[in-house]
C-alpha cells in the first residue's frame, strides 16, 4: 500500500495471466486449508507446518498467528520445559528468516514477543543485539524501537543493577546520535532515559550530565539549524530543570547558540 510506483500498463500475455491465476489459486487453496483446520481446532505438527507456509507468504494474517500460538500451546511438547524451549527457539529462527521482508508487521513483532515471553530461558541480551542490527539497517524503524524498549524492560526486570541497564541504553542513544544527530527516534528514547540518569547522580554528577546534553544538542543545532527536534529537546531540557540557576544557565547557552547562528 505504500511506496509502489505506477507502471506503464500493457495487456498481460496469456502466459502471465495463467501464472497469475495459478499464484492466486495456490494461495487461496492454502488459505482455505488453514482456515478449515482452524475451524475444527486441529492441533498437529501438520497444522503448524501449514500455518508456517501461509504466514511466510502473508505475515498480516493475525488470525493465523493466533491459531499457530494455539497449536503450540496444545501440543504435548509444550508441557515440558526443554521441548518448549526447543520449539520456541525454532520459532524465533523462523521469525528471523522473515523479519527483513516484513519489518513493519505488527503481528509478526507481537508473535516474537509472545515467543520470548513464553520461553523458559529467554536470551534478552541476544534480542538486544538483534534489534541493534535491525536499527543499523533502518535507524528510525518504529517497531524496532518499540521492540527495543520491550526488551530493555525485560532486562531491567531481571537485572540486579537496574541503573546499569539504563546507563547502557543511554549510551546506545549517544552512539546513535553521534552517528546521526537527526535520529529523532534516538533523541526520543534518550528523553525517556535522561530523567532516570539524572536521578542516579548527585548534584555534581547532574551538572556533568547536563553539560554533555547541552553539547550534544548544540552539535545537532549547528549541524542543521532547521531541525526542529533539537530546539524542542532544548525546550524540554529547560522545562525539567528543578532549579532556576540550572534553567538560566541553559537558557544563556541557548541564546548564545542562536546569536552564533
Amino acid at each position: 500500500m505504500h511506496g509502489r510506483r505506477r507502471q506503464q500498463e500493457r495487456e498481460p500475455t496469456q502466459d502471465e495471466l495463467q501464472q497469475a491465476k495459478q499464484r492466486v489459486d495456490r494461495y487461496r487453496t492454502l488459505n482455505s486449508h488453514v482456515m478449515d483446520l482452524k475451524a475444527t481446532s486441529v492441533s498437529t505438527n501438520d497444522a503448524l507446518d501449514a500455518t508456517k507456509r501461509l504466514l511466510e507468504q502473508n505475515t498480516e494474517l493475525h488470525t493465523v498467528w493466533n491459531y499457530r500460538r494455539t497449536i503450540f500451546t496444545s501440543l504435548d511438547e509444550w508441557q515440558c520445559q526443554d521441548t518448549r524451549q526447543e520449539m520456541l527457539d525454532g520459532e524465533l529462527k523462523f521469525l528471523l528468516g522473515i523479519i527483513t521482508k516484513n519489518i513493519k508487521s505488527y503481528w509478526m513483532w507481537n508473535h516474537r514477543m509472545w515467543a520470548l515471553s513464553s520461553l523458559p530461558r529467554p536470551e534478552w541480551q541476544r534480542e538486544l543485539g538483534l534489534v541493534a542490527k535491525l536499527l543499523a539497517l533502518d535507524a528510525r524503524n518504529y517497531h524496532g524501537w518499540d521492540y527495543r524498549r520491550f526488551v530493555v524492560a525485560q532486562l531491567k526486570d531481571a537485572a540486579t543493577d537496574k541503573h546499569e541497564v539504563d546507563t547502557q541504553e543511554f549510551a546506545f542513544t549517544t552512539e546513535q546520535i553521534n552517528h546521526d544527530c537527526a535520529n529523532h527516534s534516538a533523541w526520543h528514547n534518550r528523553s525517556k532515559l535522561l530523567p532516570e540518569i539524572l536521578a542516579q547522580r548527585d548534584e555534581d554528577g547532574q551538572l556533568e550530565v547536563l553539560q554533555t546534553e547541552n553539547d550534544l544538542i548544540l552539535n545537532a543545532i549547528y549541524t542543521d539549524p532547521d531541525d526542529q527536534n533539537a530546539w524542542l529537546y532544548y525546550d524540554w531540557l529547560l522545562d525539567i530543570q528543578k532549579s532556576d540557576e540550572d534553567r538560566s544557565r541553559l537558557l544563556r547557552n541557548k541564546i548564545a547558540a542562536i546569536r552564533e547562528l
Binding site: 500500500m1 494461495y27 518504529y142 526520543h188
Partner: protein, 334 residues
C-alpha cells in the same frame, strides 16, 4: 473557497475505483488483504459519503457481510471466520452507523467484548491498558477505539476513563506528541488517536496544545504533503492524521490548506483512486484519507468529516456523538 480549482478532484473516477475494488479478484492482492476486508469497506464508504455518493455501493449487501463478521465473543473480525480484534470492531461499528443499521447488532454484546479487553487489574502509575484482542498487545489506538466504540452505544461510562486518560497522558512526549504507548515515539497517527480519545473523554486539558500544534504544523513539507514523523517522507494519509488532530486542537489554520490540496490532488491516479504520493499505485486507504484530509480543509463539493470519528458530520450528529465539541476547552478558538 475559491482558492482551490473545483475541477481537480476526479470524483467520478474515485467512485468508480471504489466500486471496482470487489471486482479485482484475479489479483493476488485482493486475496492477501482479505483479513482487513471490513476496514477496506469502511475506507471506501467514508470516501463515498464525503464525495456525496453514498449509494454507489450496495448497503444491504455490506450490512449482511459485516454482520457475518461478528463472532461469538461479540467482537468483529476483519473477514468472516477471522478472529475478533478492536480494529475491525471499530470499522464494523462505523460502517453500520453510516448505513443506519447499528440497531441490527446487539450493543450490549459489543460493549461486553470491548470491556473484556480493558485490563483494570494491570494498572501501573494509575494507567489502564486496553488490549487490541485477547493476545495482549496494547496501544493508544486501542484506548481510543474502546472509548469511541462504546460511545456509539452510549456505554462509555462503563470504561475506566480516568485510567485510560492516564495511559494516554503517559504516552505524551517531550515534543508534545503522542506515541503508541507510554515510552513510544511521537507519530502523527498516534497523535490523532490520542487527541481524538481525549476529545471523546472530555479531557483535552491533558494536551500541551501549543507544543503539539507546532509539532503537527511542522509535519507539512515544502511540497505541501505531510509526514508522520520528522524527516520521513510525505504521505497522503497524513493529510488526515495531522489535519484531524489540528482540527480538534482548533489550529487548522497552522498549515497551508492550499499547498495540501495541491499535494493530495497530485497524488490522484487519473484512472481513479489516490496514492500515498504522486506517481504511486492508488489504494482505497489513501483514497479515504486523502478525501477526508481534503474535507477537513473544506475542499468544495465534499461533505464535512468529523475529525474525531472520521465519519460524515451528519452521521455523527444523527448519533448524538458530536457532543465532544462541547467539551473542548473554552479558551481554545479556531
Amino acid at each position: 473557497m475559491t482558492m482551490f480549482g473545483t475541477n481537480q478532484l476526479l470524483v467520478d473516477k474515485h467512485v468508480e475505483f471504489i466500486q471496482n475494488l470487489d471486482k479485482k479478484q484475479d489479483g493476488l492482492e485482493y486475496w492477501m488483504t482479505e483479513h482487513l476486508r471490513v476496514s477496506g469497506i469502511y475506507w471506501g464508504l467514508v470516501a463515498l459519503f464525503l464525495l456525496d455518493r453514498p449509494q454507489a455501493l450496495d448497503h444491504e449487501q455490506i450490512i449482511s457481510y459485516v454482520r457475518g463478521c461478528q463472532n461469538a465473543d461479540g467482537g468483529f473480525g476483519g473477514h468472516t471466520h477471522h478472529d475478533s480484534h478492536l480494529l475491525y470492531t471499530m470499522s464494523s461499528v462505523q460502517i453500520l452507523s453510516m448505513l443506519n443499521a447499528l440497531d441490527q447488532i446487539d450493543g450490549k454484546k459489543v460493549t461486553k467484548y470491548v470491556l473484556s479487553l480493558q485490563q483494570t487489574n494491570k494498572q501501573t502509575n494509575g494507567q489502564t491498558i486496553v488490549c487490541g484482542d485477547v493476545w495482549g498487545e496494547h496501544d493508544t489506538r486501542f484506548a481510543f477505539i474502546a472509548m469511541a466504540v462504546l460511545s456509539f452505544f452510549n456505554t462509555q461510562d462503563q470504561l475506566d476513563t480516568n485510567g485510560i486518560v492516564e495511559y494516554i497522558r503517559g504516552a505524551m512526549n517531550y515534543d508534545g506528541g503522542f506515541g503508541s504507548k507510554p515510552g513510544g515515539e511521537s507519530h502523527a497517527a498516534q497523535v490523532y488517536t490520542c487527541v481524538a480519545a481525549l476529545a471523546v473523554a472530555g479531557r483535552l486539558d491533558v494536551v500541551d496544545r501549543d507544543r503539539l500544534s507546532g509539532w503537527l504544523a511542522e509535519r507539512q513539507l515544502l511540497c505541501g504533503g505531510m509526514n508522520g514523523r520528522p524527516q520521513k517522507l510525505e504521505d497522503v494519509c497524513y493529510a488526515w492524521w495531522v489535519g484531524s488532530a489540528l482540527d480538534i486542537l482548533r489550529r487548522r489554520h497552522w498549515i497551508s490548506a492550499e499547498k495540501l490540496v495541491e499535494f493530495v490532488v497530485s497524488a490522484q491516479d487519473e484512472k481513479g483512486g489516490i496514492a500515498d504520493r504522486p506517481g504511486d499505485v492508488a489504494d482505497v486507504y489513501h483514497t479515504c484519507f486523502g478525501i477526508a484530509g481534503l474535507s477537513l480543509v473544506r475542499y468544495p463539493g465534499l461533505n464535512e468529516v468529523d475529525p474525531v470519528y472520521c465519519m460524515p458530520r451528519s452521521v455523527v450528529r444523527r448519533l448524538g456523538l458530536h457532543k465532544w465539541q462541547d467539551k473542548v476547552p473554552e479558551s481554545w478558538s479556531q
